[in-house]
Subunit: 465 residues, 2 copies
């Protein structure tokens, strides 16, 4: 049970930054509390990464069953239970959230439920929620309140006609048609999921290709596969004049000087996030911020001594794994467990099929920055494992420095891209060269051989192309 | 078309060592020929790694369909066409073999079909097969004839009652029951495949656990899962007194002082390999050998100058990826393209479900050698991605040096183990420490995070356990 004595650390927010920070502090023997409004796990575990992967797994299997004849397997009739699919996804989140609760106990993290407000530096009051009224004191505070989905002004999110990813993750009725605004990872994943089960999906992106932060070439493969799957991809297109009625949503899709009206059961907004600072700071506590994000120094410390911040709340790239890394670094730093490391390279993943994963810079970026680079590319069509697995779509593209062959960027599109990227991630961390990757024996037959062959291709030495 | 002028290199054998060597020599601008009895690709591509992965993919999907209700998908009736499954597997091999043919043309490799016999150093005669009678001369020869499945004395392989992996890969009728002798990777993969489709499988292993070269702990998980799947695993058991009748095979399974008679439709011998040297050397050419394997020096050169050997024919570990590596090193060395590298660490993979993959030493081996080590272990049950994917079985185990934290061995059992091992492979190549792997940002949610968490666990710093 919580005690009233002073904490070494209070973490506000129980997501991938917050819970990791609290656990790490517990491991270091610190007296630590975590204040979270909902159950632990944050957006990622409860309303993001984890439940969406459960949905996508159902979609993947459903798609594979449609093509099972190719593998010699026949199915008389296949059907699905949308509410069961969503229900399993919720259950997965619940299980994992329970796991965090267990880890809190194991690491002696006191867990408070409610809105943590920093009344003055070193004092946290729980100003709403179950533990409202509790006042806690601490040596150090870590803000890890994260972000929430961005909404559009004057468009009420009602969870049925108008949704963000949060509502979409607990849909009980499958929409017959949907317009998804924003074709980043979240928009693309929902497009793949819903389209797989027969929803008519229109995926709208302002920029000129889906997955706009990804390399143009990998995104183009994904976009092409999406089209084959039946997703209506509209790029360089704006959504205007959204009208919500009782039974439908209508809007204009505007591309250049052409406008088209479209009506669907629902609209899903996947247009980014905004900082979550509601109720965080009393008026007496002023932290330097930038567009709502809390500014921190190289120790993850804010403009007020003793108050730290990590994760989405300090700004992009808004990725759970980056948030966790930052939070652990912050905690280690504040308790003298090494100098905090900064985020340099990190992978980005989209879990539709084909999957898209990348690390480092895109070709476009390298060109813009005038960096001399070489390309090694290997198509999965030339991979025995990919062909044997009936998944020959996509490729691995490795971008290395012209002079030294160090990894500048890597871009993978294919069935297992999100796992494969890990190897290049370690490669970048260790400053591996293309030559070293090429000379590393990779198991045959695996998709990972394509990572080695792409490295070989930099020198024109790939064997299988 | 082949010419009669002298070759820079003649490669005998067109498998993963031979074809890679020929292609690499072609890339280096050398005049090169490859002599192969069958179509290119060798055992691996035609009768091993590649077609078996196609079979396993069908089995995986069939198993997933049996459990599709868990993912909210219902299937009215599921059936399979065994001959279609095997047919697709053969087609995959054919496609990939065609690819090698294309690569030979692209790299100007002359391809001869038949048995290549070294009549004297620098002269190869094709002594059997389509191009019989052709005589070729060369500066250098690379022997890459590989191995073939070991058989038992006085037990005729008839392809129906008695098979090796070669015959098993083109079974047209599914046996109702089978005894698989040898529970290494090949035996285990066939056990998983056939059992998935309803064959009653008895898997017999002389040593005390299945996958005897793997770490005891990962093998135990696989063995336990095999039992759950219905495979009858018999370890520390010898097969004796095999009797083949027209309709069945009977034998005694002997464990300690107990013997049990068993009868099955077929027996599959997966008891290792023997060197393939039939017709390779004329009596005038004497190469130093060891139990049939050709002895080579650090340049992959045999006891006769100008005659090199690489791949399975120079002895264990009899892995395609090791063979390819050796062959490329040999070719690069013989043509002055760098000092040939030796094989140090290499991954080993078994593609049943759960998959088993490893690199470096087992715990048993470290103990035997008296090497001080630390263990980091992370179970997939604590991985959000594994739980969301409904595949929480298994774990990642990392063994590192006690003093410096360098990777000594890594052992993974789980749904995607064979791809995941690549990261640790690069880690070993680059002499990464557990700390460096721990500090590398891994994408969330991926199974690969377990690689990072296992590294963290070495220091008691894993977040999710």
């Amino acid at each position: 049970m919580p005690t009233s004595s002073k904490y070494d650390l209070i973490v506000i927010g129980g997501g991938p930054a917050g819970y990791a920070a609290a656990i790490r502090a517990g491991q270091l023997g610190k007296k630590v509390a975590c204040v979270e409004q909902e159950r632990p796990g944050g957006t990622c575990l409860n309303w993001g990464c984890i439940p969406s992967k459960a949905l996508l797994k159902s979609a993947e299997l459903y798609n594979k069953i449609q093509h099972s004849e190719e593998l010699g397997i026949s199915v008389a009739g296949v059907d699905f239970d949308f509410s069961k699919i969503v229900g399993r996804s919720r259950q997965v989140s619940k299980t994992m959230a329970g796991g965090i609760g267990f880890l809190f106990k194991k690491n002696k993290v006191d867990h408070f439920t409610g809105v943590g407000t920093i009344t003055v530096p070193g004092m946290i009051e729980i100003t709403a929620g179950k533990d409202k009224g509790t006042i806690l004191t601490c040596e150090k505070t870590l803000i890890a309140t994260g972000c929430k989905p961005r909404q559009l002004p004057e468009l009420e999110v009602d969870g049925e006609r108008v949704m963000t990813s949060r509502q979409a993750l607990e849909m009980t009725t499958q929409p017959k048609s949907i317009v998804i605004v924003g074709a980043g990872a979240i928009g693309a994943e929902f497009a793949y999921f819903l389209n797989s089960f027969g929803t008519k999906v229109t995926l709208v992106e302002m920029l000129d290709h889906i997955l706009p932060v990804e390399d143009e070439e990998t995104a183009a493969v994904a976009q092409n596969e999406f089209k084959k799957q039946g997703i209506d991809c509209r790029v360089s297109t704006a959504v205007q004049n959204i009208q919500v009625s009782k039974s439908a949503v209508s809007m204009d899709l505007v591309k250049g000087d052409r406008s088209e009206s479209i009506t669907a059961d629902s609209i899903l907004l996947a247009i980014g996030v905004v900082a979550n600072t509601e109720g965080l700071l009393s008026p007496r506590v002023k932290l330097a911020q930038d567009r709502g994000y809390i500014k921190v120094d190289e120790n993850y410390e804010s403009s007020v001594a003793g108050i730290y911040a990590a994760g989405d709340i300090i700004g992009p790239p808004w990725l759970a794994h980056v948030a966790t890394f930052e939070a652990i670094q912050a905690v280690q730093g504040m308790f003298g467990h090494g100098k905090p490391q900064q985020v340099t390279d990190f992978p980005g993943c989209t879990y539709c099929q084909p999957q898209v994963a990348s690390i480092g810079k895109t070709e476009k970026k390298l060109k813009e920055e005038g960096i001399a680079y070489k390309v090694g590319k290997f198509p999965f069509q030339a991979s025995g494992k990919a062909v044997a697995s009936n998944q020959p779509e996509g490729f691995v593209k490795l971008l290395v420095g012209e002079q030294y062959g160090e990894i500048l960027g890597a871009h993978i599109v294919g069935s297992d891209a999100t796992e494969m990227i890990a190897e290049y991630g370690l490669g970048m961390k260790l400053e591996a060269t293309a030559e070293e990757i090429h000379n590393t024996i990779h198991a045959h037959p695996t998709l990972s051989e394509a990572m080695m062959e792409a490295a070989a291709a930099v020198f024109g030495e790939a064997i299988h192309i």
